[in-house]
Amino acid sequence: MTRGSSLYVEDLGMSFGEHRVLDGLSLRVDPGEAVCLVGPSGAGKTTLLRCLAGLTRPTGGRVRYGDQPLTEPHADIAVVSQDYRGSLLPWLGVWDNVAFPLQGRGVKKAVRRKRALECLEAVGLPDVAEKYPWQLSGGMQQRVAIARGLAYDAPVLLMDEPFGSVDAQSRFDLEDLTLQLRRRLGITVVVVTHDIDEAVYLGDRVVVLGGKPTVVLDNLTIPLGTDRDQLTTRADPRFAELRTRVLALIRGEKVPTAPEVARQ
């Protein structure tokens, strides 16, 4: 069961002074989809995500959630940022951090705590509720940030390079966690990443960004099904093709012809 509405990006542009970073971007994310935004560093992926989150206003074009324009943070949208260390409040315990958005909604303490514990279990951290963020490893802290996004009970989860500062092993675990949560909860997930493998592994669709200024280079559907795992999926020949395609696009090189990948 999927909830929430679609996110629409319409002809979005972003300039910082004279410098035009994003130009005429349009895309659409439907409820229940997992969309990965991929592109080289500095392409403005984070800026785009922030516009989707309502944290930044684009200088041109607009963002819509359902049929309402989106100009500030929305109750249906949770953001997990790249800087997990900075975004967890160090003076609050783990469960307090997870439950904090709920406190913002006026939820009573007992209810909040229960929900926080549930979400911590869902991300695989049943035992750390009473600890403080500084006592956890990077991977664990990022899980707490994700748990917080879940506790917010938002149908849409936006993640900005969520696994970038985490070690490789933890990264695989976290990727699988994301897929699992999506299956169980039916949430919409938009992930910004510079890791092409990750984008192909996680996404139902991969939106490739690039160019100067940044535009949508391509919108690829990933036909690898919803039941993925690190060993078999990554060994699948289609996986290799897809990632090659994405890499070629980003590099601006000729896409090697291959048996067809569905395009939109």
Binding site: S81, S87, L89, W91, F100, P101, G104
Partner: protein, 277 residues
């Protein structure tokens, strides 16, 4: 118990104490009576001489003044820190106020408002409020942008933000400001008793000094030192309880807190550095 560490820290002060004790033991100098005599005088005055009264009087004033300064300073500081235009507009004024010698107001205040408790508390408040206010502003600014964004992204209503995001986040700097304010407050506590206040520790030493009761003067001075030190230890304990999360973070190189690029400070770093008026 880390005996070695304690020993390493205590040997020098203990040595100094012993040296003072022995060096002054047989002293016949008028101005430097034997340390033993000073200490006995101190004891005498405390037990029989009404020094306790003086101590309590001064202590009450300083605590009241500091409490007032904290409430006003933190309150105003939080508001100013959060509202950018206000902060920019008042920055030079606040720096100027901080640079003004509150000691200069003593004659004015005391001579016009009298020698009661009230004017003294007011003076202490007047001098202590600026470091607290300025450090609160600095503390609010020091909260990382990621924290602010998270609060914004999750649409946390501002009363809750103030209470659980901004205040705790600024607390390290606020407490540093209070520590500085403490030293200023102790000075003002003494100076405010300059004009024949009936009781008070400052009055005690000023009177003893001018009547050449040397041992009493030294005794009173030592007591003030103990008072000041005691209060700062108390503050340290409060800090440790309240800022457990701050001190236990991943150990960093012990360095001064980075200077915020925009507002270069008249605020003192989170590690106090002994500024006294």
């Amino acid at each position: 118990m880390p005996w070695k560490a304690i020993l390493r820290q205590l040997w020098l002060p203990a040595l100094v104490f012993v040296v003072l004790l022995t060096a002054t033991a047989g002293s016949t100098s008028f101005y430097f009576p034997p340390l033993t005599e000073v200490l006995t005088t101190l004891w005498e005055e405390l037990a029989h001489g009404g020094l306790v009264e003086d101590l309590l009087f001064s202590l009450r004033n300083i605590l009241l003044g500091l409490a007032l300064a904290t409430v006003v300073g933190v309150g105003a500081g939080l508001v100013i820190g959060e509202i950018r235009t206000l902060r920019l507009a008042t920055a030079p004024l606040l720096d100027f106020a901080r640079a003004t010698p509150t000691v200069g107001f003593v004659p004015v205040i005391i001579l016009t408002l009298g020698i009661g408790s009230g004017p003294k508390v007011f003076l202490i408040f007047l001098g202590s409020v600026w470091p607290i206010l300025l450090n609160t502003v600095s503390g609010v600014q020091a909260i990382g942008p990621a924290v602010h964004e998270t609060a914004r992204g999750y649409r946390i209503p501002w009363p809750l933000r103030l209470r659980r995001v901004i205040l705790p986040g600024a607390l390290p700097q606020i407490l540093a400001g209070i520590r500085v304010a403490l030293s200023i407050a102790v000075v003002l506590m003494v100076v405010s008793e300059i004009y024949g206040s009936p009781v008070g520790l400052g009055n005690f030493i000023l009177q003893s000094g001018s009547s050449f009761h040397v041992a009493e003067t030294w005794a009173g001075t030592i007591l003030i030192g103990v008072l000041g030190y005691g209060l700062s230890v108390l503050l340290l304990l409060v800090e440790h309880r309240v800022l457990g999360w701050y001190h236990q973070r991943a150990p960093r190189v012990r360095s001064t807190r980075p200077v915020p690029a925009e507002h270069t400070d008249s605020t003192e770093s989170a590690k106090s550095n002994g500024v006294v008026v």
